[in-house]
Structure formats: C-alpha cells, structure tokens
C-alpha cells in the first residue's frame, strides 16, 4: 500500500498506524501522530486503519523559538 509519511511516498505493509510506527522503527520514540491532518492519540493508533493514499505525519520534539 502506498501512503505519504512525513511528505514522502512510502510503500508499507502496515495496515494500522501502530503497525506503521513499528515498521518504520519509531515505536520507542517520543512521537505524535496525525492522519490526514487530524491528530491521532497514542491510545487510538491500534485501531486507526490506514488506506491507500493516506497522509501520515510523525512528529518529534525539536528546537523552537
């Protein structure tokens, strides 16, 4: 399945957001997720299913002003 992850097209096997984080090796990082511009809570990632063309954002803490 082809989806967008942080603005890049990726072919992934995962069918849920939680599985995607595992697949991309983000599982143990402090990340926040959004699907198609809407926030998805950590606790909701397991039941959040992905479909072709979805846009996923995976964000982590960074320097800011």
């Amino acid at each position: 399945m082809r989806i967008q992850v942080n603005g890049e097209a990726r072919d992934v096997a995962a069918t849920t957001l939680a599985a995607l984080l595992r697949e991309l090796d983000f599982e143990d990082l402090s990340v926040a997720t959004a699907l198609n511009q809407s926030f998805v809570r950590k606790s909701d990632r397991h039941q959040t299913r992905l479909k072709e063309g979805d846009a996923v954002e995976i964000l982590t803490p960074r320097q800011g002003g």
Binding site: F26, A32, P61, Q63, G64
Partner: protein
C-alpha cells in the same frame, strides 16, 4: 522589591526571561545559555522525524535534563486546522496544556493571522489548552483573545528574528495600560538587552526571545546580559521612573550656588 513574581495560568515563576531553543551553535551552548539566562521556561517545537537520526529524541532528552518548563509552539502553521492539530500533538508529546499559539499570516513579516489566531485560540481553550497567543499589539484583537479564553497575551516587538526591538512602543504601552492585570509578554523582534529592558520598563511581565541569544557571537554571555537587562528593566519599572520633560532641570541645588552676586562678564 520584585517579590510578587509572575504567574502564568496559576504557575508561579521567578524568571521573566523566556528563551527559545533554536539556532544555537551546539546543544552544549544551548544548555549553557539557558542556564545563564536563568530561564524557567523554554520554547520548543514539533517537526517531522526522519527516524535514523533520532534528532528529536536526543533534543528532548537534553531539554529534560535542563529541568525547565517547556512551552511548545505551533511555529510555521498557516491555518487554524494546522495550528490546532499541531497543538494537540504537542500536548501529548510534551505533556503540558501550555501552547504558544502561532498562526502565521504573511511570509515577509511572519506576522500573525490574527483572525485565524482568535479562532484557533477559542478551539484550543475550549479543549483545555492554556494558550499563549503570539499576537500583535492590537487592542481589539487582544480583547478577542481574552474573550476566547486566553489568560496571557504575547504581542510582538518586531517581526520574528528581525532584532529591531520595539517597533511600536506606544502601542505596547497602550496595551499594558488597557490590560493592567493580564500577564503580557513581548515575544519576537528583540535584538539587544536594551530592547528587553525597554519592554520591562513599559511594565511588561516578561520577554520571550531566541535569535538574539542563539545567534550572538557568545550566546552564553548574551544570555546573561539579557537576564540582567530583564531584571534591571523590571526593577526600574517597579521603582516608578520619572517622566521625561522638554527642558532641563538642574539636579544640583540652586540655593547656595556661589558667585550669584557677581556680574558675569
């Protein structure tokens, strides 16, 4: 003299200098600068994780070691939807209801889209966020932000990163006079310690800056300079400064001045 302290959303603070964490030459210099600034709050952001670099994880552990509060921002967001989603993501990662709300309206000046700002502030406040809106010195916008549930206002001094100081000191003064009991923070545009002191002398509760310290030749020394300037400005404000006047007024006593009875050649 300054025993009243500063309170943001029920949190009492001793430091009136809030610093950003971006653009430092190295993480070690960032840590030294935050310490020299005696800052209790630093601003942070959320950005896309590339994975392998673990940049986010390394940065987050550095910040946690500093033992300061974090104020996450929504920097770069251009719509209400982007800002609200970013705020929600920040609340989960940083585990704080605080959010420095930025909705940027214009590229050259990075000035706030105040219409989007008010709308986003209302949505977030209803959802339990404690919003620190990055706004202009506009009184009407300020009223709307307070009406939306904001308990702190952060008007700009000048465009972000410009280092121009207080572009509209009169407007900032009017805002202070109009809202004597709302914590007001000058956020953005500060370039030198004297700018920060000037903001504090206007009666502002705090200043927030990043570039002026991070991009200085010696960020640690500049952080200390800003800490001193903020303290001096605050103390000067509390000490009730004299009003400027147009003409000179001698400070040395006139009575007893010698030679007054002699004709001057």
């Amino acid at each position: 003299m300054d025993s009243d302290g500063l309170t943001f959303y029920g949190v009492k603070l001793a430091s009136r200098l809030i610093v950003g964490t971006a653009q430092y030459p190295s993480p070690a210099i960032l840590a030294k600068a935050v310490a020299a600034a005696k800052a209790e709050i630093v601003t942070v952001s959320l950005r896309r994780e590339s994975g392998a670099s673990r940049a986010g994880e390394n940065f987050w552990s550095l910040i946690r070691e500093l033992g300061v509060r974090v104020l996450p921002n929504t920097a770069g967001c251009r719509t209400v939807k982007e800002a609200v989603t970013t705020a929600e993501m920040a609340r989960e990662v940083f585990d704080t209801p605080w959010i420095k709300l930025e909705v940027i309206g214009e590229e050259d000046t990075l000035q706030p889209d105040v219409f989007g700002l008010v709308e986003a502030a209302a949505i977030l406040a209803l959802d339990g966020f404690q919003v620190f809106p990055y706004t202009t010195e506009d009184l009407v916008v300020a009223e709307r932000l307070l009406g939306a549930g904001c308990e702190v206002l952060m008007p700009w001094g000048a465009p972000i990163g410009s280092g121009r100081g207080l572009n509209n000191a009169y407007g900032l003064k009017a805002l202070r006079a109009h809202f004597p009991n709302v914590p007001l923070v000058v956020d953005a545009g500060i370039g030198t310690p004297s700018h920060a002191a000037a903001a504090m002398e206007l009666g502002y509760d705090a200043v927030l800056l990043n570039t002026a310290i991070a991009k200085a030749g010696d960020p640690e020394a500049m952080a200390r300079a800003f800490a001193l300037a903020v303290e001096a400005g605050r103390l000067g404000y509390l000490a009730d400064p004299i009003e400027p006047r147009d003409m000179a007024a001698p400070s040395t006593p006139v009575i007893g001045r010698p030679f007054t009875d002699l004709a001057r050649a």
